[in-house]
Symmetry: C5
Subunit: 299 residues, 5 copies
Amino acid sequence: MKKKIKLSELDLCPGKRIRLHRLLYKYGPGNGTLLLLPIDQGLEHGPVDFFANPDSADPGFQLKLAKEGGYSGIVFHVGLAEKYMREFAGEVPLILKLNGKTNIPSDDYAFSPQTASVEDAVRLGADAVGYTLYVGSPAQDEDMRQFAEIREDCEAYGMPLIMWAYPRGEAIETKGGKESLYAVDYAARVACELGADLVKLTFPKYDESKAKDLPKPYNELKLKPQEAMEKVVRSAGKTMVLVSGGGKMSDEDLLEKVKFSMEAGVTGLIFGRNMWQRDSDQALKMTEKIKRIMSEYGT
Amino acid sequence: MKKKIKLSELDLCPGKRIRLHRLLYKYGPGNGTLLLLPIDQGLEHGPVDFFANPDSADPGFQLKLAKEGGYSGIVFHVGLAEKYMREFAGEVPLILKLNGKTNIPSDDYAFSPQTASVEDAVRLGADAVGYTLYVGSPAQDEDMRQFAEIREDCEAYGMPLIMWAYPRGEAIETKGGKESLYAVDYAARVACELGADLVKLTFPKYDESKAKDLPKPYNELKLKPQEAMEKVVRSAGKTMVLVSGGGKMSDEDLLEKVKFSMEAGVTGLIFGRNMWQRDSDQALKMTEKIKRIMSEYGT
Amino acid sequence: MKKKIKLSELDLCPGKRIRLHRLLYKYGPGNGTLLLLPIDQGLEHGPVDFFANPDSADPGFQLKLAKEGGYSGIVFHVGLAEKYMREFAGEVPLILKLNGKTNIPSDDYAFSPQTASVEDAVRLGADAVGYTLYVGSPAQDEDMRQFAEIREDCEAYGMPLIMWAYPRGEAIETKGGKESLYAVDYAARVACELGADLVKLTFPKYDESKAKDLPKPYNELKLKPQEAMEKVVRSAGKTMVLVSGGGKMSDEDLLEKVKFSMEAGVTGLIFGRNMWQRDSDQALKMTEKIKRIMSEYGT
Amino acid sequence: MKKKIKLSELDLCPGKRIRLHRLLYKYGPGNGTLLLLPIDQGLEHGPVDFFANPDSADPGFQLKLAKEGGYSGIVFHVGLAEKYMREFAGEVPLILKLNGKTNIPSDDYAFSPQTASVEDAVRLGADAVGYTLYVGSPAQDEDMRQFAEIREDCEAYGMPLIMWAYPRGEAIETKGGKESLYAVDYAARVACELGADLVKLTFPKYDESKAKDLPKPYNELKLKPQEAMEKVVRSAGKTMVLVSGGGKMSDEDLLEKVKFSMEAGVTGLIFGRNMWQRDSDQALKMTEKIKRIMSEYGT
Amino acid sequence: MKKKIKLSELDLCPGKRIRLHRLLYKYGPGNGTLLLLPIDQGLEHGPVDFFANPDSADPGFQLKLAKEGGYSGIVFHVGLAEKYMREFAGEVPLILKLNGKTNIPSDDYAFSPQTASVEDAVRLGADAVGYTLYVGSPAQDEDMRQFAEIREDCEAYGMPLIMWAYPRGEAIETKGGKESLYAVDYAARVACELGADLVKLTFPKYDESKAKDLPKPYNELKLKPQEAMEKVVRSAGKTMVLVSGGGKMSDEDLLEKVKFSMEAGVTGLIFGRNMWQRDSDQALKMTEKIKRIMSEYGT
């Protein structure tokens, strides 16, 4: 097992330390790992994702799951945060997502405009904020500048900053695609270089058919899944890694992913559709299984 | 009949609650429903819409109709609000529309620039503001950012915010068009995610010939009109829904639409051309009929 | 004769009322009508327009004409206002034009950037400001936003705001062109909706060959010149209309235009090239004839 | 000889008057004319221009020339001003160039971004600032807006403003090119309209082969060089004209140009490469000859 | 040997002088020369550069090298500066890189958005900041404007400013490429004109096959490497030159480059991959050799 970053080893301003301590040790697994429940798909994909479990269209469903399952926090855009936190205030920590977009136009020049501010996050009692940076998009100019301003506000308000580091845009498609180790590894490093406290990354995939398009030496690198994840964690450096789930997968695959990820040294998991596309009982059972694995990786 | 959102169940700052209470319970139907009269077509379409009823070119016509018919409010751009409210001050609540555009250039990259500010709305004694967001337009970056700034101002001034959530732009056209359930349903959710207090939506239409272009699973979904509207209301969540009329239709169709909408749980109606393209007497009679239906859906 | 708007019937802040009262009743015809002399062609067209009367290249020529002819005001860009008003200070009211452009690049995406501010107008003692909005231009986003900021400044400083509402851009060309009743009528309404106090419009022209391109029902509308102007004045509502002259025309045509316009209910005239492309004597004589007509339309 | 503008006849704020008086009467020819030495070619063209006289690559060369030759001022970008003025402080007036660009990309959409501010000019003790406006460039929107902000700052700080008014961009090329009388004449008027205190213009050229492309009536206008310059000076109105040299020419041509220009009523000369591409002695001798001519044109 | 710029000969505000004195005389070689270790490749190229020496993926490796090797400073983006300086605070001076980008999209319109501010640099105790300007890129407008704002902040905070002056973009490719003497020479001058205190430049290369594309007279200029570097240093004027290494080369080539550069009058070296792509021992030995050469060029 790879050594994980410990909060106590990081230089942080008091506000960031207090809020991160709360997320890492007072809610959720509580052993220095994080289990987050994101529900921003309504903006990113539309109500399409709620068909598998119609109850999930009501954010109250996810809040109840987050409370009963004992998640470290829930991820909302500002609208949901304002309208649905009421009964769960103080019970489920809020991570406010600060930018987003619909998936209706093409992703060639992917960019997510700001939908809320760090001031909104403070007003709403959030314990962290989330920002999607499309690594490698032709719109990276605007994206990195928007991120930099939010990073400065986070420093000023002591608000932990999680980067959703997503390789995206027409250029990455010609270099092996957005899910390759090259792409995810680069994204991990970008998050660290630009000053994210945590980074949300997808599990890198090896696709034989696209290997030749990868920049050297990735084109000749064929790592096992866990090794690939370890490499990515190394590239993120002192930025804590959260692994995202993406589309729903089988229980075995999911638990294997959890095991691999924790073993590779990630700090936590951020699983949305894989949890709330199940009914309440099944989601709680799976949450229980995941947390059992996570309990072995405390710091 | 679907349960409607009640004002008392929402977390709101005092200013928003006072203004919404006024709109919902002190003017118009007064039973927690809303009946709004919009007259922004002069900017959006030009004087073209006034040919059917030449009197309607004078905003005084709509103000008189709004007062005599007992509407919950009238929707104006800043120029009309400044020049025509005088005799109706305090008699007809003002909803100030904050952005708009002409329909002369193409809608491929649809975007409505800001034409007035929340400060203007406060200065003019408005009880709410309106904002058109073109959901899915390639210009969504600029649009969502502009909306976010207005949303923050609304929070600061306690001003209720109504989003005209219109699917628009070249991308939506390739995915089944702007009137499909997919498009309207997505728009409803976007309004909720981004923090609108109310959302103006069109009635979704089922078009057999375009069904194949719809993203899954909408391509195989064939709901009855009222079911479709119920789905949309569910997607809007705690954002109250206003149904718009669009182009003029027959009396029967209009009243059926009203019935379906109220039954589906919408909070109110926002009918422009369907009302003021009639002469004064006919418009008042139709208003009366609509309000009789609405009176059965108080909260 | 159509009833004209009276200043006393309008809701206005004190600064706007004082300045408009001065323009309408203390200078020029002085009977509630306006006669303005614009000289911004040096920026808009270059010195080309001064060949017909070389003296006109010196703004002192127009100032002398404005003073001796008894105009309600002169329209200058900031450079001319700063350098030439000296001897005419308090004798000829200044309308400061706040945006403009050269006509060297194509008009397809027509947009006039700001060249001076409302603060400049206050500093220079202006009694109104002018703004060109290219109605229907693909650049309308930027244009309407720029206008909105100036409108707010005008409200703050009590400065009357005249919109040069010019249909322009590639889209209007495909819909019957910039001089059609459709185009001018739409422009009139836009000025009113967006909050201009006065609007400068061209006299609409009927062009048989382009009628089929006009949006319905304009494609079947064939009004006499004065009827067309009346329609436009109606669309402008409580925004006072100024009719512009455009390129130089015959004396008969010009006087007929004046008569038609005043009869149609416009508040005033803004004639540039038609006046200062004549020598001083002829220009004064024509001014006299025009004012004689205007004297019959006081309010 | 045409009458030149006198400082005493202009309305100016005290700061502008003091600084202009210093430039016109206390340094250089000292008789109300100006002789400026520009050295911004290092940014505009790169070190290419210094090959003719390698010493000229060191800005100390130009400063020494300006001091010994008795120039009215030297034109620097901020970097040179900060690093090289030390020994010449108070000996050679500084004109700070506020925008510029490299000539590596195409000039089709020519635009010079701001490289320093009026505040920089104040801090560095400058007596005027320079701004390049590319008259007629498709980027004129951004250019005119940038200029307007600088103009307002100049008014606030009492800093004289010189416009480098250069016709440029793809559109001007289709209308007879950037050196035609049409182009230069238009540029002169633009400087006056937009509020420049002085304008730097090139000597207009008559090119038979392009005459047909010129807008009417320039296409049929064939003036002698001095007449053309007189026309341009008239178009600039109360904005003082500085004639630039452009690429190096023969001594006879240069002196003839000086004579023509002064005779045509320009206020001064701004010669760069024509002076500092000579060695020190020759440059001083030529300076002497030029100043002798200028001495006959005092005001 | 060419004479190098001495700090004492420059006009500088106290803050810049103090920080530069520290970098030039208190750390690193300490004789008025500079040896900097940059580690921004993780953002610019991704983790690709760390394969040659996997230890180098951890910024702690470079910090240890910088401390033990006695470098004048280390170059970090804000994320690394915040997370890794802790143990080396006060031991290794920090140069904060203020802009950057990934190399995933094309370089045709190369531009590096701001990733941190001068205020960040002050907060983090940096002794200088770095900025990449892509000289000649079609995006130079935005780039030069962004640089100008940072330059003003540097003046206000007394923070030395190093420009990474990189010829880049589609236009430079048609004029002989980014590594030609023409390109590097122009870049050197741009840094001086725009107000950089130091400039990072690559060693110019002569490429016979592209010589014909070079602008005159560079197309006929064939200088020996050291002469070329001397020319570049001359063009940078009073802006101190740092030579960068680029991709890894042989020891002999590297040391020759060092010798040539110092002989040509550069102030220092900024070698990244050439140092940290070696293991710790070899890197320290090479550092020692380089510093031995540098010790002969004190000022």
